[in-house]
Symmetry: D2
Subunit: 430 residues, 4 copies
């Protein structure tokens, strides 16, 4: 294990923390307050919550003499950890708190950063392993919130009938047709899945390899032969599904999905709207006509699953996806590229596995065999959500490149659409 | 009628418009976004809506060549006028709009103010009477929103568990005991009520006397002899009601009030909370212990009516109140005084009729005999609310002194508590 | 006061109690269980509740040695009396109780009837006045529930898409045109309203005159001159309002009414539906085409008020109604006539004041000056509902003739439609 | 394939149909109307719906000249099939339909039974295979509704504060202590799961072996070594969990489960209540003290999963269960035994796998690899529910013995408790 004064960990800390703030640069103060749905938290809350995470799980327990920035922030900026003392402010009410102001939240970040610098430069030996592990979790946690920050900003700005842009200087691609949809075949058989033990992995880019508890343990599964689509489903393909009346045909949908269509009045993916007969999409750079070759995104599991049924195919399992993606490079459009929208596929074989859009799988989010959650409040991070959600794989255009990895398991409820979620098809092989 | 270039109307316009902005001076940008309940609109919305009112009812119809500031503001900042074309953004979602920014809303105000200056300085003769009448409505409308601005700010800040103060420099009164509760007797008989026709009234303080359509016509009613309390009920008196278990005793309450207690969990007036066994109240200058001699405020009609029953008395009708207040000076604590909270009564006869707290009456808000609403969308101002609400009289510490008047009829639903509403008792005289 | 062994009171008791059961004769056992809306209680519940009323307010306190039929009926069949010990089963869940069975409920009635016979034949002198007064209330209470029984049966059967008839043998009137709408003028001035003290009134038809506490005390009011329509508004007239697009025009409606139209999807009165372009109405004898000359019924206050506005008139106040109806005979279609639907007016002067349809007035349901509720739980009968409701006058085709009277004040929330409620217009007289 | 005039199929039809009606014998007419929750349909509806199933999928398409009993029953008694023409009456409103009466529903059953007799005795050769397959589905469907009939009756009667018994003559077991909890080990490895193709299976008890489409196809999975509890968790064991404060400790629960505890106020399994400090349970034969050795039942997945966590174990997957149960006889308490409640385990090895209680597994209800739903509306039977639900295995004391089978996959949402659902533990083997 590298010594605690290894600058790489603190460098990573600085890099991640700084990037969070860079993502907020285009925002007006007013934007920091928005919460147009319970799950789309205000930017201000994200900025504070990720700092609370370091304060709660690192500074309070391990930095001697640490003075909290504000006694009530423990209540205001806890997300959902039931095993901490202060309880938490209701999720759906995060947008109703004007104080601390944005400036005060940035001051809170500085306070935490300064204390973290002290902790990382002078940590008692007996805590170093725990501190290092928790810093890794904290940084991955903040990277997750960077993605949420962008998708929440997208949701909250798009809610406004003026459809303001987050970054209006981004220019759209010239229109082009999608490349043909082809498939790659896989053999089946017994294969390994999940992350191998952290202690045994090599550092990458100055940081040790990391995986969440829900990616462990590495274990074996039996796969049947299958074929996987070489690219994501495009807007043009999905529009054909819409134009075919899919949202009015119950035979295509899971029962819960059909109920959702009726109660929510869905007629197309989130952010699609028809203007003068032309489908448009609101993006982080404003509203524009659908690009036919870009991947469809912001679809629910219900829509992905119904599309697959309509197309005579199915969604892959998370294990088929992981098997197909093994040994592939982590390539694609990530948040680092600044495009902030998925890009079209090029001609050729299996691609877009990483970045661009999270890919709905047909696998429910459940524990791997012999899964053990971390002890204490941190054990609430992943384990308590293993019910009712579906696994997504691969990352999106709002994910950091160094946050994506082969074994990463993202999870959302089947009706949720506000992340960059797309569709990759699979089919059985005789 | 004074000529249109009479500077007094424009002076009044400037004075009212400026005061709105003065009220916002203590706010942070973040505070302008708050809407913690559907009825507690964000300050930003108020600032824009009152400008929309002038734009819609004066500039668009009467200022030749007027260019609207933004085409979609007609939709965003209409409150509830169904008879305008653009419809309106849902009331409960006003806090979910970050753009226009606060700065842009102030620019909108400048745009409207400049245009109003042009209109008032150069109005075609045939429109002068209408313009003058509508400016009066617009200014009274803005004064009403000044009061709402304060009560909404109070609600929205108090919702925050940090209980931030709007103006922390206001110092509370030294504690003192209430003066004894005495009553003044009135004879009964046939009396006149309501406003006399505008055309026949004298200008006051440079502005013609004004009354809303719901105060007309002046008409006669038969009153029975009654006695009216000389002052408002105090916090100390109301606390005795609370301490007597009133909120757990259904025999004291109207059926709808008891249902409300159970669904909302009411245990005391809005803004009261017990800390270490002592009742505190959150005010616009922060949380502090109850002042025993200050009038109880932020009570619902249900609470006022139940208190009166518990005290063996009743609430006055709006006609008893108006009869008792006739020929009394418009004196009391108003927003002009900067106290922003009702003040205690002094020893002596009938007082606190104006200012301090709106006083719940036992009268339902219904049209006077021969009432006629104004034509067109402006007719929606008062008339369409004549159902299910109760009349309050007298004004409050958040009302402008020159907005209060004898015949003024305020109205709210019986469960609403976020205005400065208090209790004055009455009783029958044998 | 007649002696307690005067058979007339027991005769009245027998007559009223028997009539309740006669109204249930057309029902199937299954119908006794229906509750398609919280306010439309199952017949079985009505049968038991009116018996509980006698048990609670007469047998338990005044019949020595009375044994209750079932210990838990006090909980199951209390309607809303908060001041009794057992609390009450939630109103909206009354249809979810299959036991006691219908047969057991009839046995309960027999048990109560037998005990009442004992009480009335042998009541200690000191209780006779109270017992007699409470029996009167109990009988009037049961008559009110007879009306609710019919209107609830109507609602609950009409909810079924098969539209089963309660009594299919009733034959509709031959179609005819309405008589012209004329008005009768009244002078105005000071008049008396409300019931005169019971002790001073003559017995009628063997029963002393009766009035609820909310009809007291008799007091004076000042009326302005007005004209009152000679008959109720007809289906043909109301259909013209519907055909004119009234349900799509917000300018015609009170704000709360327009909100109700949108949330409930109202397009016409309750029970109206269009079949092949023809408006039909579901009645207690099944669905049939609208009769043009019959009074429109099952309208809300919102609809009555909007109709009046559309027609350039207004609704009368309850005092105008009472003044016009004073000295008129209690004539009209009552439940005694077995028609179970309002009938058309004939040519001529002021009619349909009693029976046919309850008439919405423009008066809020509030206490009369010097009103005092009865002491104890019985005081909850009327007083605690004096908020948010509007007064209706006159009775309906589902009211008993000997239950209707000049001073009777019925009250419902402005959105409620399931009673036989109609429209009578008024207008100001210069 | 046996000829269509083989009497065994019709015998099975008669047997299943008759048993449905036998289950209703203890009911009062009023009980047939009860629906105390959307998912607990009235007995009358079940009786009609299962007949509608035969009418819709067999009589209408295959019996020439078949006349439907009532044109609107297609709407009233469809459950959820979106691909039929008439749509369906809302599930939550099934208890609001008094007509057809119970007697008419029985007449409907006779009508369908007579027509089915004709169809089965004289079916054109080309339809025989389809008819036979659909009759099998129809009978299994009716057996499923027999179980629902009982569990819905239990729910609907227990909702009544009188806690009426369905069959009060059933006597409880003498109290006894549970046998110790032991486990049986299994090796792991590749095994087959699911039903083998129907065409290849032998008839059992006069009926061909049957399985639903969701049990197909037979396929292989890799299991890791595990141990399975030899019996279900008992009331005594579960009470220790309750007494340990489990319902107040969020650390034990899935996030959605903890949310459910708070919104529903759960403090114990459904039907448990404390009387004078002693836990009681309402059963189909009324309320009685908990029997310590009987299996805990009416627990949600959330409760089963939390119990397992508290006990340091986990739930088995549906594949572990199926592997352990393979080659075991279908033994246990079934509805045929008339006990109507799960019974205690005896000393010894693996038992209670079938009957007694459905056993929650840790497997989400998802399609098997290469699953294909049946074509047309019948394909809605199972496939459209493959989302958000968990698999239960083994059958219960309300299941018919000849309906239970090794590969049967029952499924419910994780919060649902009104079936007889219990807990069997598993654990990993090193």
């Amino acid at each position: 294990m590298p010594p605690m004064d290894d600058p790489s960990l603190y460098d990573a800390y600085r890099r991640v923390r700084t990037f969070t703030e860079q993502l907020c640069e285009p925002l007006e103060i007013e934007d920091y307050m928005l919460q147009a749905a319970a799950e789309a938290s205000p930017p201000k809350w994200h900025l504070a919550h990720v700092s609370w995470f370091f304060e709660t799980f690192l500074l309070r327990p391990f930095l001697p003499g640490y003075a909290v920035f504000h006694a009530q922030f423990d209540h205001l900026f806890n997300s959902y950890y039931e095993q901490t003392e202060a309880g938490f402010w209701p999720r759906s009410k995060r947008g109703l708190i004007s104080r601390p102001t944005v400036a005060e939240v940035y001051a809170y970040r500085r306070h935490v950063d300064d204390a973290m610098a002290r902790l990382l430069s002078d940590c008692p030996t007996e805590h170093q392993a725990t501190v290092r592990a928790r810093v890794e979790i904290g940084l991955n946690h903040e990277q997750q919130h960077q993605e949420l920050l962008l998708t929440d900003i997208k949701y909250n700005l798009a809610y406004n009938p003026l459809r303001p842009a987050y970054r209006s200087e981004l220019s759209p691609l010239p229109l082009q047709d999608p490349v043909p949809l082809t498939f790659t075949a896989f053999e089946g058989g017994i294969h390994s899945f999940g992350a191998v033990d952290q202690g045994q992995t090599e550092p990458q880019a100055g940081r040790p390899a990391f995986a969440y508890d829900n990616e462990f343990p590495c274990h074996q599964r039996l796969l049947e032969p299958f074929r996987l689509a070489d690219r994501l489903i495009t807007n043009a393909e999905y529009q054909a599904f819409v134009d075919d009346g899919a949202y009015r045909n119950p035979a295509l949908w899971l029962s819960d999905g059909w109920a959702r269509i009726k109660t929510e009045g869905w007629q197309a993916p989130l952010y699609w709207e028809q203007l003068d007969g032309v489908w448009h999409e609101t993006t982080l750079s404003g509203r524009r006509p659908l690009h036919p070759a870009e991947p469809v995104c912001h679809v629910s599991y219900f829509e992905a699953e119904a599309y697959a049924r309509w197309a005579g195919r199915r969604l892959p399992t998370e294990f088929e996806w992981e098997h197909a993606a093994a040994d592939r490079a982590v390539e694609g459009h990530f948040v680092d590229d600044g495009r902030l929208h998925p890009g079209p596929a090029s001609t050729g074989s299996l691609q877009q596995l990483f970045g661009d859009c999270w890919e709905w799988t047909g696998s429910a989010y459940l524990p791997y065999p012999r899964y053990r959650a971390v002890d204490g409040a941190l054990g609430e991070y992943n384990g308590k959500f293993m019910n009712g959600q579906m696994v997504l794989r691969g990352g999106s255009c709002a994910t950091s490149r160094d946050h994506a990895r082969l074994t990463y398991r993202n999870f959302f409820y089947p009706h949720e659409r506000w992340q960059f979620k797309g569709i990759r098809l699979a089919e059985d092989l005789a």
